[in-house]
Structures are given as C-alpha cells and as structure tokens.
C-alpha cells in the first residue's frame, strides 16, 4: 500500500506541472491586455509600457512562465493587481470558506444519494425505484443557480426560516451555529445535482453487483440478508461509487462558482468570478491552480480507497 501511495503521489507532479502550463497559457491566449484594463482606455502608451514592464509582461513568455513558476513554488503567489494585496492572503481564507461549503454539500449529497440509490437498487423496478429515479432526473437537470434562487425565494423570503445570503450575520457575533444556519441553503443547492448523480450510480452499481454469480453462491451458503448485502453486494458495488463521489467532490471544490455568487458565499468560486471580471491575473492563476490541485488530490484519495477495496488494484 505504501509503494502504491508513493507511485500515485509521484504521478501528481507531471499532472500539476501540465496544469500550471495550461493555466499560464490560457491567460495569455485570452483577448485584451491587462495594462489597458488596469489603466483604462484613456491611458497613454508610455504609461501602459511602464506598467507592462513593472508586471513583467514585456518579457518573453518562457521567461515569464519560469519567473511565475519559481515564485509560485516558493509559496509566493504574487500581488493582486486589483486590490494590491498579497494573493495568498486573499485566496487562503476564501479556500477555507469553500471547504466549509463543499463539506456541507458533500455530506448532504452522500447521505441523500447513497440512501436513495441503495434502496432503489435493492428493489429495482419497484414504485420507490421509479419514483426516486424520476425525481433524481428532475433534481439533476435543475440548474443550481436557478434552484438557489427558488430556494431563497421560498425559505428565506417567504417563510423567513433561513438567511438570504452571506456566511455570517452582520449584526450577530458569528460563531459556528450562525455559519451552519447560513450554510443550509447554499449546501442544499449545490448538493442536489451531485446527490442525483450519486443516487443513479449507486443504484446501477448495486443492481450490477446483485446480479453477480458470487452473490448467488453466497445465498447458497445460507448467509443472512444483511451479511449478504454488506459483504457481497455493497463491498463490490463501491468502486464506481467512490469514483463518482471523488469526481463530484472535485466539482464541488471548484465548481460551486454560481452558487457562491448567488448566495454571496465568500468562497473560491466567488473570488474567481470577481477576479475574472477584474482581469486580476495573479488571483486567477492562484485560484485555478488551487482548484486543479484539489481536484487531483481528490482523485488520488479515490484511487487509494479503491485500492483498499479491491486487492487486484493494489497489486497492479
């Protein structure tokens, strides 16, 4: 297992390296010019040239990349163009806020998705199965920003049960209970899509595992239904479930962008949205790199769990 982990971690380095090149290039490819955006259309050519020189934008691409990479590797993400604050101080608290939202959504999605998928799979073609899968289809196809607005309208504005937006009450003294209260609507909004996908995957892998020959052999051994389902059905249904959960975790870490904007949740997605609007290059770079890193790490976690579940993967 140790060798497996080392091998997987070593595989991360070229991936992150590739991601960093793509991120760097993408921003170069984007139309427009940071100096023009920053100084405005009326700025003189001389001022623009001076700014480009200060930011290092007049250097050849390769040397720009090397400088950026060396700086980033040493933990210095640069200074935000828009706010003139160090990028790290902007990004890190936002990342923590996104982690809170991600965790809340993931717990909800797993609880709802796994439970529905398991019951539907064990009783496939029952009324519950057909009803829940239709609902999952509906929930999975509702765009999160629209869903968010509907939930706000219902639970925050009409019923006044929950706060409209933000992470804490302006007037309140904060505390985790207040955060939790604010967490409900955005995490429900982001959780429903992943929950629907998980329910469908859990259902189909449970059905697939139920149909395997060794399940019939296990029944012929006289195992109780609970043991049978735990050891012979769920254990073998898990690998695709873990994989899709990891992918959804990656999506939640980086992709809760619209939800964060709708609910004014001060997370990474909202920051990315703001920095793209402001063409704040260092912030965009640091944010996307962090999201990519989180995605890669989530996938390593998936590989590790699957290797723990399937002896054939451990040895491969």
């Amino acid at each position: 297992m140790g060798a497996f982990l080392a091998r997987r971690l070593a595989g991360v380095i070229p991936v992150i390296f590739g991601v960093s090149i793509v991120i760097f290039m993408l921003i170069q490819l984007a139309p427009g010019d940071a100096a023009t955006v920053l100084l405005g259309p009326q700025a003189s050519e001389a001022a623009k040239i001076e700014l480009r020189h200060t930011l290092g934008l007049d250097q050849p691409l390769v040397s720009q990349y090397v400088v950026w990479l060396a700086r980033t590797l040493s933990g210095n993400f640069g200074t935000s163009i828009a706010t003139q604050l160090p990028v790290a101080t902007l990004v890190v608290p936002r990342f923590l806020n996104t982690l809170i939202l991600t965790f809340g959504s993931l717990v909800l999605a797993v609880a709802i998705g796994y439970a529905i998928g398991l019951f539907a799979g064990l009783r496939s073609h029952s009324l519950f199965d057909r009803l829940s899968m239709s609902l999952a289809l509906l929930a999975g196809s509702a765009p999160p920003f629209w869903l968010g607005l509907i939930l706000v309208l219902l639970f925050a504005i009409q019923l006044r049960w929950l706060p409209v937006s933000g992470m804490q009450d302006m007037a309140g003294n904060g505390g985790w209970l207040d955060v939790l209260h604010h967490l409900v609507l955005p995490s429900v909004t982001t959780a429903l899509g992943p929950a629907a996908i998980m329910a469908r995957i859990v259902r189909s892998s449970v059905i697939e595992a139920l149909g395997r020959s060794h399940v019939r052999v296990a029944r012929a051994k006289g195992l109780s239904r609970a043991t049978l389902i735990r050891r012979h059905v769920i254990l073998n249904a898990l690998p695709p479930i873990v994989t899709i959960t990891g992918l959804q975790l990656g999506y939640l870490l980086g992709g809760a962008l619209l939800t964060e904007v709708v609910f004014a949740w001060p997370g990474l997605g909202a920051l990315l949205y703001d920095s793209i609007t402001a063409r704040d290059l260092p912030v965009i770079q640091a944010t996307t790199l962090l999201i990519a890193l989180a995605f890669v790490l989530a996938n390593i976690a998936v590989d590790l769990i699957n290797a723990a579940l399937d002896p054939r993967l451990r040895e491969a």
Binding site: S213, H214, R216, V217, A218, A220, K221, G222, P311
Partner: protein, 329 residues
C-alpha cells in the same frame, strides 16, 4: 433401499411468469436421494436441470416461483419453512457447488473469509477456530500450503483451485446433501477428472447424497449410481447407471446416447444428432413433449401426456413403448 432417504422431491413444479403467460420449467419432478449415493441429473441446456437444483435450495429468483410439490430433507418440509429458517438449511444441510468457479468467488474477500463466513453463519465459532477449520478444509480439498494461502484473494488461484475452494465452503458444515451444478463444465479436461474424483471421495467419506447435474454422459458413467434423464422440465427416464447405458427405454435417452462418440466407434458412421429442437416451454406441445422429435412417435403421444411407467424397481421411463415391450416381451 434400507437407508432412509435424505432428500425426497415430489411433484415439484417451478414456473416463470404469470399463471396465464409463463413457462413451467420444472414440471412435476419426483426423485429421491439416498445417503452415500450419487444421482446424476442429465439433459440438454434449458431442460430445467439448474432450475430444479435452485428450487431445492429455494433460490429461484422472481419472476420465477415454486408453484407446487414438496421437498423433504431428512423428514423436514423445506417449502414450508420461513426465509430465515431456510437460510439455516442452505450451506448447512445442503451444500451447493456452481458451474463457473471463476465468477463464483467474491473478488474482494480472501479465500479464508469466504469459507469462514459459511462456518460462522451456521456454527457459534470463534474466528480463530473458524480459521483453523478453514485451513483443515482447504487441506482436505487438496489446496497445498493452506495456512498461508488462506489470506490470498481469488485472483491468485487457478480455475481448478477456485473450484476446490468452493467445494471446501460447500462441505464446511458437513451437509447431508451436496448439489453440484455442472461443477466441471468451465474447467480443463485434466482438471475436470481431479475435481470429480475429489467430489466422489469427499461424498464417500461424508456419507452424503450427491446430486450431480451434468450434460456430460462420460461424467455420468464414471460417477453416478442412479441417473435421472430430464427433458423439457420433466423426468423422462430413471434408472441405475448400468441399466441406463445398456437398456435405455425412452427414445430421448436413446437419442442422447447416440450423440456420444466412443473411442472404439466406427468413424465412418457419423454421430446422430437429435432432429428438431427442444420445445418452447412458454408454449409447450400437447401430449408427450418429445413427440415432435420422436422417431417412433405414435398418435396417442401427440394427444396424451405419457407418465413414468415402471419397468423394474430401479427403472422407469415415460414412454408408451414400455407398455408394448411388456406385452410383446
């Protein structure tokens, strides 16, 4: 017929589908298994051999169900048991071995775990005791170095070795009946012989009844004491093994034997395939189900069911010709 029967099956009927539209794949099957004896159940694919075996274990999945008859194991009616009572019978009083050892083991559990779970399902036993018993069982079925291999996963084992492991699990609670559903069909010929010998030896040592399901008449000749020939959900002939091979009475049995090549056969005479195809059980023919393919069919066979007719205490065949032979013989 001195020893009491271990398993008595009477008029067993298993149906897939509804009362109106469906197929009765096991249709009035009756037989008896005796301790220490091997009974072979032979027939073509789809004739209801496996459905019969699964019905005995009450493992028929929906939309299939047992619609009639009785299955009595050591005097206990299995069809009347609750599901949890039946769980106590499966794996304990009846052990079953399946066709494909490559898919019959759970890839995520070790060999040891898969034997221990059977033991612990039926006996109050500590894990250490169960492990020791599992090692003994594996050694008994011919797995060398069992104490070390108990922690290995199925993919470390060859097909033949996996079937040995499955046999070890099936006999772990000393069942009085062992059902082996085509246990060697998926294996190499050289391995087949070893597995069959193992089954034969174990059954002899344990004094259990063995119901051996196969389509291989060579296996029948070398293993069975008694043979049941099944066709389209019904038993068409029952005989001890010598009688079946030397004096078959049902035209289907005769046709089945004519399909087998012997080493001393004249190769210029081609093997005789059975004309036509097995009947559609969703729409079975009226009368004898073999009538459409029967070379000696009579008018009455097309309109009336032909029940099993007694030839001797050890021999029955479901054919009208048994009557004629009796009159002329």
């Amino acid at each position: 017929m001195s020893a009491p029967a271990s398993l008595v099956v009477t008029d067993l009927r298993t149906r897939f589908g509804s009362d109106r539209v469906g197929a009765t794949v096991v249709d009035g099957v009756t037989f008896t298994l005796l301790p220490g004896r091997t009974t072979a159940l032979v027939g073509e694919s789809g004739c209801g051999k496996s459905a019969t075996a699964l019905s005995l274990m009450r493992l028929i999945d929906k939309p299939g169900r047992i619609i009639g008859g009785s299955v009595t194991l050591n005097g206990r009616d299995l069809l009347g048991l609750s599901e949890s009572e039946m769980e106590q019978v499966r794996g304990a009083a009846i052990g079953m071995i399946f066709q494909d050892p490559l898919t019959s083991l759970n890839p995520a559990l070790t060999i040891g775990q898969q034997i221990v779970e059977t033991l612990q399902a039926h006996r109050p036993m500590s894990r250490a005791d169960a492990d020791r018993t599992a090692i003994d069982l594996l050694t008994r079925v011919g797995v060398t170095d069992a104490a070390r291999r108990i922690g290995d996963y199925p993919h470390h084992f060859s097909g033949g070795m996996r079937q040995r492991v499955l046999i070890a699990a099936a006999i772990s609670c000393s069942p009085s009946v062992i059902i082996a559903d085509e246990p060697t069909t998926a294996l190499d010929v050289t391995v087949q012989a070893k597995i069959l010998r193992l089954l034969h030896d174990l059954q002899g040592a344990m004094g259990a009844s063995l119901l051996l399901i196969t389509h291989d008449l060579g296996v029948v000749a070398s293993m069975a004491d008694e043979v049941l020939v099944m066709y389209a959900g019904r038993i068409v002939e029952r005989a001890d093994v010598d009688t079946l091979f030397h004096d078959p009475r049902h035209p289907y049995t005769k046709a089945l034997l004519a399909c087998v090549a012997g080493i001393e056969d004249d190769r210029s005479v081609p093997l005789e395939p059975i004309g036509g195809s097995a009947p559609d059980l969703w729409n079975p023919p009226v009368g004898c189900r073999f009538a459409p393919r029967c070379p000696v069919v009579q008018d009455v066979c097309r309109s009336q069911d032909q029940p099993l007719r007694r030839i001797s205490a050890e021999h029955e065949a479901a054919c009208i010709l048994v009557e004629e032979d009796r009159m002329h013989g």
